[in-house]
Symmetry: none
Subunit: 223 residues, 2 copies
Amino acid sequence: MKETILIADDEVNMRILIHDFLISNNYEVFTASNGREAIDVLDQNPQVSLVILDVMMPVMNGWKACEIIKEKSDVPIIMLTAKSDEKDELFSFKRGADEYIKKPFSLVILLARIQSILKRSINRKRDYKRGCLVVEHEKHKVFVEGKEIILSKFEFEILYLLMASEGRIVSREKIIESVFGFDYEGTARAVDTQITRLRKKIGVAKKYIKTVRGYGYKFEVNE
Amino acid sequence: MKETILIADDEVNMRILIHDFLISNNYEVFTASNGREAIDVLDQNPQVSLVILDVMMPVMNGWKACEIIKEKSDVPIIMLTAKSDEKDELFSFKRGADEYIKKPFSLVILLARIQSILKRSINRKRDYKRGCLVVEHEKHKVFVEGKEIILSKFEFEILYLLMASEGRIVSREKIIESVFGFDYEGTARAVDTQITRLRKKIGVAKKYIKTVRGYGYKFEVNE
DNA sequence: TCCAAATGTTACAATAGTGTTACAATTTCA
DNA sequence: TGAAATTGTAACACTATTGTAACATTTGGA
């Protein structure tokens, strides 16, 4: 059974970006363009298991929506904000938000937070074990044949993204969008370099990371 | 581009009701009065992006039709039933239905489910199973008699295009436009070469790719 | 501040994919 | 039947894609 996530953001591109990313990671997704709408969708769909609220929205902002939602249910809430003001963060937590993510953020980080929260609320799996490769997201650790491997931030996130998309092709554009951030300006070849470094570091586990010529990369275990 | 929906229900009033409602909501609609007809319509119109099946129909009921349709492709299916029996619901899901709506239902609910499903499956390509040939779009894999075949990008895309156009002739121009891109500058003979290579790689499944002299190529399974 | 790690770009090598050509095979139709 | 049109296919040269090392910059800590 798929988990259902509700996204509320007034920027349509942001909604689509997150929506598509979550769909491709096997979630059911609803969207809303302001706080009022989010509350309506939530009333109609009690199966929603997590809410993502942008702080800045017309009609009803994220803070207010968060407060109202938390009065009625204890569905977990992630707040998104462009402000880096510490006061805002405190403000969100006081109103019951479970997580607080500053824009811009990478989708992989968002996914990790979502999985972390869902695990907390329904005992969901978030570490990956495939063949001789183990990735523990919370501890940010990677093991190959039981031996710990130190990866850089991007190497880790690319590996995590590929494993979360096991069996499916992940294009360079997708990797850039999800890992480097949607405002990344560089060339797609940077992905190749990261993949090369990742493969070198994980040694024998490199066999799981396959190149799909013309499309991108794919994580796959043949056994 | 309008989405196309196929409705199969033996009650003519119900067909007309749903048909008119969907037309007025800007969908393209086909209708069928039993499961057998639904499958025929689907075979003739691979662009159908969602199927609504009534469970109780003469000739071939909704369960059976659902099963047969899902064997060939993964087009989303909504089952309609008058029974409120829990077992039926389980039965439908087991046979691959994506949604299950109990009669009587409001058209607004139906529309909401349709939109939700189409949103989910937009940009998601179907998998095809024909004879000894299986093509999984998302995983980008091709199997002949269960054995995986590695195809290049163009070979894969031509095969996919032909299968999506099963039974109909696809001209070289169409293939060029769809696969090579509208700005392709080369000769149409490049298609012939790709077809040759494709046939060679898929071995026994080559019998499905037929040359239609003077027109192009056609994917067809005779059994 | 300084150092080490991380990162993106560039350049070049290796590989896989592709289009064209030429000729063979087949089909069409008068 | 025989010539013309169409298609099949092998061989070749050319392109595109990817792997990777090396380098220059940037970043983040001591």
